[in-house]
């Protein structure tokens, strides 16, 4: 299955992926409407280690501990991707307590949010990868 992978030596730390993610998942028709004057809450986070940067998003683990731990059954695996049923999730944050990579977070409106590989929005493929100017994140089979 195709996943998002990181080439940290290519990352410029520009954080474009964070903005593209927030836009892609906003449901808005333009980036300006989606992001203007708002604190963004993307599903990908750029971290820093000295002069190295890298972007972290859900690993879509093969045996995902978040899915096994979800108290409501809101998390499930759909064709290999770990997805949230926003109507089932009650925001208990048990999944936040168990994700080893810190890739699931409180969302707006009571449910959690995480990377769903843009399969659930109008982009259809990861917007973070598409917009990365330096191929520091890629969407491929490994």
């Amino acid at each position: 299955m195709k996943r998002v992978y990181v080439n940290e030596k290519w990352c410029l730390g520009c954080r474009l992926c964070e903005y593209n993610c927030a836009y892609a998942n906003s449901g808005e028709s333009s980036m300006i409407k989606a992001l203007r004057k708002k604190a963004i809450r993307p599903n990908i986070t750029v971290e820093e280690d000295g002069d190295i940067n890298f972007a972290v998003s859900c690993r879509h683990c093969r045996d995902p501990i978040c899915v096994k731990s979800c108290i409501s059954g809101a998390l499930s695996i759909k064709d290999g991707a770990v997805v949230v049923d926003h109507d089932k999730c009650v925001g208990c944050l048990t999944c936040v307590l168990v994700c080893p990579y810190g890739c699931i977070r409180e969302g707006e409106g009571g449910a959690v949010q995480k990377c769903e590989l843009c399969l659930n929005n109008s982009f259809g493929e990861p917007a973070c990868v598409k917009g990365c100017p330096n191929r520091a994140i890629v969407f491929e089979e490994r």
Binding site: R3, Y5, V6, N7, E8, E47, E48, D49, I52, F54, V56, R59, C61, R62, I65, K68, S69, I71, S72, G73, D87, K88, V90, G91, C92, L93, T94, C95, V96, L97, V98, C99, P100, Y101, G102, I104, R105, E106, G110, R142
Partner: protein, 410 residues
């Protein structure tokens, strides 16, 4: 064809079903379910009363779950005894079922301490099942005064659930603080202040000496008038089916890392068991949903002839009330690192170069990174812990870890 029998129909049973089916697609699976419901998410009963979920979304697995997994569920049936020699289980209805492999996933039952005059109270409730929630809901009016005995997880979740459905709620507990099984007094005080702001009243370090109809006479001498009483003092693991036939039990049914009891072909999983906690080094009952599912899955795989084991179990909890979340894990034993902020706290407990436990209130982002340090027993001198303790992140794990986790399949 192998015959699998599961007693109970909660998260552990679902784990067992999914575990069995990951190995054996054809064996016959039968579930004995005392409750007359398709498997639902037990922790959601308070959210149901609050209107945050409904009877459709409360289902832990989709409505075609049993059909898709070819499971035969016997609703409204109760197992009363197990014959380990003849390999049969007797039901209350008189039926007898045979098995090749049995999983006891019977959960726990509310413990109601004998209290003088309890029989004179007109409206007494437990808060364990969907039916309990329905009955409680139907006994509440906007004028009801509710007394909840027990300020633990269940009592407080119940309080949150019914806050909008009644006039006032008083919670009492013998312990001097709320959530006493997972919080020390400083941390509990933060949660209590928040709960009080929500409108819940507390009588802590106090207990009901006797009931007299709709009045509770407290040990402290004060009297509490109420219309509806909820007893949420605690729960006890349902161990009797295994204990009666000589299976080893402590407070829960003893299981090993494969979820085997001490009796052959009998497994157990979930809230009815006790197992090894890596953070305290002791065997204990860890009654939480994630572990119930994982233990069930582990039992199921082994029942079907596969191999799975759980060697890194730890207690953990995520509980929140009206936006304030409290995430805890492990044991609070070791040197404590603390940060305090408005409406919150962070406490990490370090022992022998390992993270052994934590309490996070308020700021909880990326908490799972800490949990994974505990679970994986990561030596703290192999990461930049000075950085990590301030910010849970992957940078402090170094390049090798990152290229493995972010550059490959995990």
């Amino acid at each position: 064809m192998k015959q699998y029998l599961i007693i109970g129909n909660g998260a552990a049973a679902v784990g067992a079903i999914e575990g069995i089916r990951s190995v054996d697609k054809n064996g016959e699976i039968t579930v004995i379910s005392r409750e007359n419901h398709h498997v639902y998410a037990r922790p959601l009963i308070s959210y149901y009363l609050e209107g945050k979920t409904d009877l459709k979304h409360i289902l832990y697995r989709p409505s075609d779950f049993y059909e898709k997994n070819s499971v035969n569920v016997l609703y409204g049936e109760e197992a009363v005894s197990v014959d380990p020699d003849g390999k049969t289980v007797a039901l209350k209805s008189g039926k007898k079922l045979g098995y090749d492999s049995l999983c006891v996933a019977a959960g726990s039952a509310p413990f109601v301490p004998p209290t003088e005059g309890l029989g004179s109270v007109p409206s007494v409730h437990s808060f364990m099942t969907l039916d309990d929630a329905e009955t409680l809901k139907s006994s509440l009016t906007p004028d009801s005064r509710v007394l909840i005995v027990g300020a633990g997880l269940i009592g407080l979740k119940c309080a949150e659930g019914i806050l909008g459905l009644c006039k006032e709620i008083t919670v009492c507990d013998l312990a001097p603080r709320v959530l006493s099984s997972i919080l020390d007094s400083d941390c509990a005080a933060i949660m209590q202040t928040h709960l009080e702001k929500m409108g819940i009243k507390f009588l802590l370090g106090d207990t009901v000496e006797k009931f007299d109809g709709s009045t509770a006479h407290m040990k402290s001498g004060c009297k509490v008038g109420f219309d509806v009483l909820v007893m949420a003092v605690g729960v006890r693991a349902n161990i009797s089916l295994v204990k009666e036939i000589g299976g080893e039990c402590g407070r829960g049914i003893s299981v090993n890392e494969k979820m085997q009891t001490t009796l052959s072909d009998i497994y157990a999983a979930g809230d009815c068991t006790e197992s090894f906690d890596i953070t305290s080094g002791t065997r204990r009952v860890m009654a939480i949903m994630p572990l119930a599912y994982m233990q069930g899955h582990c039992a199921g795989v082994n029942m079907a002839g596969g191999t799975e084991s759980i060697e890194n179990a730890l207690p953990m909890n995520s509980i929140g009330f009206a936006g304030l979340h409290c995430l805890t894990a492990g044991s609070y034993d070791g040197e404590c690192y603390e940060e305090r902020f408005e409406d919150g706290i962070k406490r990490l407990y370090v022992k022998d170069n390992l993270l052994n436990g934590f309490i996070l209130i308020g700021k909880i982002d990326r908490a799972g990174i800490y949990t994974s340090l505990i679970r994986n027993r990561t030596p703290l001198d192999t990461v930049d812990f000075e950085l990590l303790k301030k910010f849970p992140a992957l940078a402090p794990f170094g390049r090798t870890y990152r290229s493995e986790k972010l550059g490959g399949e995990v």
